[in-house]
């Protein structure tokens, strides 16, 4: 069952690579939160109940509800255009993300270690690289934040793989999560959208000295 959820997680990455609207990214992030909730529930059976309850509450409240709602609120409030505006066409994004998955599979297969839970490793590593690719290939700041959130989901998946032995690692992942929420709160409630009408990193290239 965990494997099924993780495969859906990878499919969500492929889906986000061909999405045209920013709101789709937000929905996929919410979906990933729900999937992580399920994986947490199925995977962490050996840790104490209170800690498990805390982690599950965090995944469902922060990852699946609070952050997506807040992001969609920000998109409305700052009047960010609905199109994602990638530097590369979506077709190439899809090929690149498929290649990322292939390479991580090959990488994971070449590691001869019995302690490593490979499907978790593949999913987390490909999510991480996908997040990095998103940050590199999208123009808007808000999509960069979403790429960061995706990276953090990947880190969370990897921490779940060892969660039974090292529950503190999962808690650290949660800390990162809360930190990221505060980060987007800080960036966007500081009226960045009001001062600079378009939060577009392209305009930074206009800054040059003569």
């Amino acid at each position: 069952m965990t494997n099924v959820l993780l495969i859906i997680f990878i499919i969500s990455l492929l889906y986000v690579s061909i999405a045209n609207r920013i709101i789709t990214y937000v929905r996929v992030l919410a979906l990933q939160g729900v999937i992580l909730f399920g994986v947490t529930f199925l995977q962490l059976h050996a840790i104490e109940t209170w800690n498990l309850a805390l982690i599950m509450l965090e995944t469902i409240v922060f990852k699946a509800i609070a952050v997506p709602v807040f992001l969609s609120y920000l998109i409305k409030r700052n009047k960010i255009t609905r199109v994602t505006e990638p530097y590369l066409p979506n077709f190439i994004s899809l090929i690149i993300i498929t290649m990322i998955v292939v390479i991580t599979v090959l990488l994971a297969n070449s590691i001869q270690d019995t302690h490593l839970d490979k499907i978790f490793f593949i999913v987390s590593l490909s999510t991480l690289f996908t997040g990095l690719y998103f940050i590199a290939s999208r123009k808007k700041i808000i999509t960069h934040v979403m790429g960061y959130l995706m990276i953090e989901n990947g880190v969370f998946v990897l921490s779940l793989a060892v969660g039974n032995e090292m529950p503190n690692l999962v808690n650290l992942g949660i800390m990162l999560d809360v930190f990221a929420s505060v980060l987007i709160l800080g960036i966007f409630l500081n009226k960045i959208g009001d001062v600079f009408k378009a939060a577009d990193v392209d305009q930074l290239s206009n800054l040059k000295d003569y």
Binding site: V4, I7, I18, L94, V102
Partner: protein
């Protein structure tokens, strides 16, 4: 024998169900579910007009296409009973006999000398080319899973047991359904109702066909749908007895038709430039199925 007769039977009402679903969702009564077949019979009684610029290829193409789809239907098994033809590697035969039919419809469209039809032919070739890896990776993964290379052996030794195999079955049905939509030029990729030649794919290729030939082409489309429906159904009826398998088969075909109708009612056609990425996404999903098969076989982890 059972499979081909069931496919022929289902193809009679398949298009009717799609049409009826679309009518009901848009708030109309709609024609009876045998209306498409009646249309085809009407076309069969009509004469055919050939353009002066066309050659023999244009005349034989509809028949070749129809024959190729009929041949492809023959290799499809029904649950645990064989199809009419069955040999090792018949899924490759299946894919390429369909490609032969498609090739003839493409060169027939070029034969008319119309620029619109050439454009449609080019698009059709492009999209089938993109759909091919999805199909091969999908069936190849199931061949790997069961260790056999013919449709009959794959489906009769496929047992959906654990949750991950159900997941693979669901994903495979999704991919096959989307391939069926692409091969039949239906909604997310092509709109059969469009009236602008610039946006058509399949419809523009058959603009010059009339009468008997047009009827044959329409029949081919219905048969193709029922054929892919049969492939999807085979994933689920592998270990049922014939008594149960037949109703389940017909139920899955009806469900497939209703879903096609619903997709056509609630989705808009993609922009032409978005089609390749959508079709390539299917290949990526098939690739994930392949990884899932490796997972089941414990080749890694």
């Amino acid at each position: 024998m059972l499979s081909i007769s069931l496919i022929l039977f289902c193809s009679i009402f398949f298009a009717g169900i799609i049409l009826r679903t679309k009518s009901i969702t848009s708030g109309r009564m709609g024609p009876g579910i045998l209306q498409p077949v009646k249309d085809v019979i009407k076309l069969f009684r009509k004469g055919t007009i050939y353009s002066d610029t066309t050659s023999i290829i244009f005349r034989i193409a509809p028949s070749v296409t129809f024959a190729s789809v009929l041949m492809a239907c023959m290799v499809i098994p029904f649950g645990s009973s064989k199809g009419l033809v069955s040999f090792d590697g018949d899924f490759i035969f299946f894919a390429y006999i369909l490609a032969l039919g498609k090739f003839f419809s493409i060169i027939a469209a070029m034969d008319t000398g119309s620029s619109f039809e050439g454009m449609g032919a080019s698009r059709e070739a492009l999209y089938s080319m993109f759909a091919e890896p999805a199909f091969f990776i999908l069936i190849g993964s199931f061949a790997l899973l069961t260790g056999n290379t013919s449709f009959y052996k794959i489906f009769s030794s496929l047992h959906l047991g654990s949750s991950i195999t159900y997941m693979l079955g669901a994903l495979a049905s999704f991919v096959l359904m989307m391939i069926a939509m692409i091969e039949n030029s239906r909604m997310p990729v092509d709109d059969p109702k469009t009236h602008l030649e610039l946006t058509m794919i399949h419809e523009v290729m058959i603009l010059d066909n009339s009468g008997f030939d047009l009827g044959l082409i329409l029949t081919t489309g219905y048969l193709k749908f029922a054929m892919y429906g049969a492939l999807i159904a085979d994933f689920f009826i592998g270990n049922l007895t014939a008594l149960w398998a037949i109703p389940v088969f017909i139920f899955i075909q009806c469900l497939f038709a209703v879903m096609v109708g619903l997709i056509e009612s609630f989705m808009a056609r993609f922009r032409m430039s978005h089609n390749p990425q959508f079709i390539l996404a299917l290949s990526s999903v098939s690739f994930l199925i392949f990884l899932g098969v490796l997972l089941v076989l414990e080749k890694f982890v």
